[in-house]
Amino acid sequence: MSETPVFQRYEREPAKRVFAAELRETTHHFKEGTEDKSPTFVLLPTGERCNRVFLVGVLTEKKKSEGDAVFYQIKIKDPSGFFYVSAGSYQPEALHQIATIESPSHVAVIGKPNVFQAPDGRFLVSVRAESVAAVDKSVVDCWILDAATRTLERIESTEETPDRIKSKEIYNHSPEVWRKMIRDALTTIEI
């Protein structure tokens, strides 16, 4: 546990707050820059790029891969649907954390979204976990408010950024779809 010297100050990509229903509809991914290590992004249907997500929900399924390499796939439910999250030997921290969490549990996940195309042409989005933590119900409720706020900000933004213009070309969701999703999510919170 020694200090890691920071030679270069860098801007860490913020972890976007996205409901499962929106992340599931995401199909476009791209790379910023041409280098091998350049960051990859997915383009959210609400018009922002996303290289990292922070999500909170209920871990409902935990699957350990068969074979030599340890690999976990977990399913996490939020009010709008499911997130598919995985962790392999390149994510030792997340792997270790998932191993200790039983389903069902409330969990918070920080990870990187990826878009895959299945042989039948469908797009699948999964999140490669960086960290997973068991949390209590109050964090879930706070996250729903947080995700609702950020999603509303994205659909209400009138700034014509290149990402927003691009997302309008690729996706054709009415903002009302997302409003309904947000409202439904908010009403799942019992006061």
């Binding site: 546990m1 890691t4 918070a108 997973v132 949390v135 408010l145 609702a148 509303l152």
Partner: protein, 513 residues
């Protein structure tokens, strides 16, 4: 323009530099450019000048023109751009010592729009400029060096002193509205300090009903006889921006006239969160006094009012008024600067009146960030610090300090290093021992015990913190310094029913289902 005129101008320019060129030759060349090849006249003039300049080896003197400005009108310093040929009228506010025999004089010229550095080449044979004198420069060339504009006086530039009646008249400007450049104002000298070192001879503050401004008088300037507490009219002073604030320079060209009528001055008191670089008046409580960190410092600490807090310092040169912690003061005409992106007050020269009976509820200072702790970095948890005084570096597992090597008598500390993220922005944060203790109810002693009773040792504490804090929403209070948040106090965010209701309303309102 007639080719003959251009010819004459070119030939005069080189004649002034000591090179005679047959005008017929110039005109023939010019006519080839313009008539035969259809080159625009100014372009042709430039080509010919630079050709001859190269031929005579006088490029630096003649310069090249990229853009010709009508030379009959006077240009403003503020409008000048690199490459312009300009006519300027202004006052010489500073003369620097020349560092090169090629330079006759160098200094700063000011007009009503701003100030600009100038260089007079020795070969220009220009008249010697006097400090505080007003001059007209015809056909000077503006260029840029290190992003700063300056103008050059070369042999083709005509320099002539302005007669008194040619000096542009000025109107009195309230201090708050002072623009850059040559200005006139009336005000009271509310503070005056004599300097024994540095190029500034006097410095102080001039105030009127609208505000206050710092002023300086350079060594050797004859502007003398001004006294603290007196009202004066200042004509042809120079206002310029220095470290984010407008400053006033009184120089040889400034006329200072005492005002005999007695005027009252009501300074405008502002709140701490309104402080901007410049001169300010405040009503504040002394929140804290720091131990002096420098030989030159007389006192430093923190002042505050209902709107926030600000650091202050009093330097030893002439500062002898110690502010008493816990006491409320009205401080007139303190100097505000920006230091590390935060305002900082200098009390020297200010007037501080204690209000023994007064009290102020000071607003807690600092920054607040609410977000999720998305990463906990190595170096979090129970750490060992170097015990050498003033060091405190984190030791490696082998108790090794980068500077002081092996330190077996280390001191334990507790902290969380990580990233706090609100979905739009991330902050590299360090939560201090106090912050961790309050957040988790885990004391430093408790953490030590935890480490001692567990085979994993120090790492136990690290895993404990990850389990308790990672992925949680925190509200952190502290200070942001260059995207790093130093958290001294933090708490877990709890569900806010009001925010929930607001969001439901917000999402419903525009829903047309």
């Amino acid at each position: 323009m007639e080719l003959k005129q251009i010819t004459q101008r070119i030939s005069e320019k080189f004649a002034a530099a000591g090179h005679q060129i047959d005008p017929a030759k110039i005109e023939e060349k010019l006519s080839r450019f313009v008539v035969e090849f259809g080159i625009p006249e100014d372009e042709a003039e430039r080509s010919i000048i630079s050709e001859y300049a190269r031929q005579f080896g006088v490029e630096s003197v003649i310069g090249t023109v990229t853009h010709k400005v009508d030379d009959s009108a006077v240009n403003l310093i503020a409008d000048a751009q690199s490459g312009d040929w300009v006519t300027l009228e202004g006052v010489v506010t500073v003369l620097f010592e020349s560092r090169s025999p090629a330079v006759a004089q160098t200094g700063i010229l000011a007009d009503r729009s701003g100030t600009m550095r100038f260089t007079i080449w020795a070969k220009a044979h220009a008249p010697v400029l006097e400090l505080g004198g007003w001059y007209r420069f015809e056909s000077a060339v503006v260029d840029e060096y290190n992003g700063q504009l300056s103008f050059k006086v070369h042999s083709g530039t005509t320099v002539s002193p302005l007669a008194k009646e040619e000096i542009p008249p000025l109107t009195i400007t309230p201090i708050i509205d002072l623009p850059r450049g040559v200005v006139s104002l009336e005000g009271k000298v509310v503070s005056l300090t004599e300097r024994t070192t540095g190029p500034m001879h006097l410095s102080g503050v001039i105030a009127d009903g609208t505000g206050a401004i710092r002023f300086t008088v350079r060594q050797g300037d004859p502007t003398s006889g001004i006294e603290e507490g007196g009202w004066y009219r200042f004509d042809y002073a120079i206002a310029d921006v220095y470290r984010g604030a407008m400053n006033l320079q009184l120089n040889a060209g400034t006329f200072v006239e005492p005002l005999t009528e007695d005027r009252s001055l009501r300074p405008a008191i502002i709140s701490v969160n309104e402080i901007k670089p410049g001169v300010v008046c405040l009503r504040v409580k002394v929140v804290q006094e720091y131990e002096s960190s420098s030989e030159r410092m007389f006192q430093s600490g923190v002042l505050g009012d209902e709107s926030g807090t600000v650091r202050f310092v009093t330097w030893k040169d002439g500062g002898d008024e110690r502010l008493i912690p816990g006491t409320v003061y009205t401080i007139y005409y303190a100097s505000a600067d920006e230091f590390n992106g935060r305002p900082s007050l200098t009390i020297n020269g200010a007037t501080c009146l204690a209000d023994e009976a007064g009290n102020i509820e000071v607003k807690a200072s600092g920054d607040e960030v609410t977000g999720a702790l998305v990463h906990i970095s190595p170096g979090s948890g129970l750490i060992k610090r170097c015990p050498v005084e003033g060091c405190g570096r984190v030791l490696t597992r082998q108790n090794y300090c980068q500077i002081h090597e092996i330190q077996p008598n280390y001191q334990y500390d507790l902290r969380i290093k990580g990233w706090i993220d609100n979905g739009r922005q991330t902050w590299d944060t360090i939560i201090s021992r106090e912050g961790v203790e309050k957040l988790l109810g885990l004391t430093l002693a408790g953490a030590q015990e935890m480490a001692e009773n567990n085979p994993l040792g120090l790492e136990t504490v690290y895993y404990h913190l990850c389990e308790q804090v990672l992925g949680r929403y925190l509200t952190c209070q502290g200070r942001i310094i260059e995207n790093r948040l130093l958290t001294s106090n933090c708490s877990f965010l709890t569900f806010d029913p009001t925010r929930h209701a607001d969001l439901i309303n917000r999402v419903e309102v525009t829903n047309n289902e």
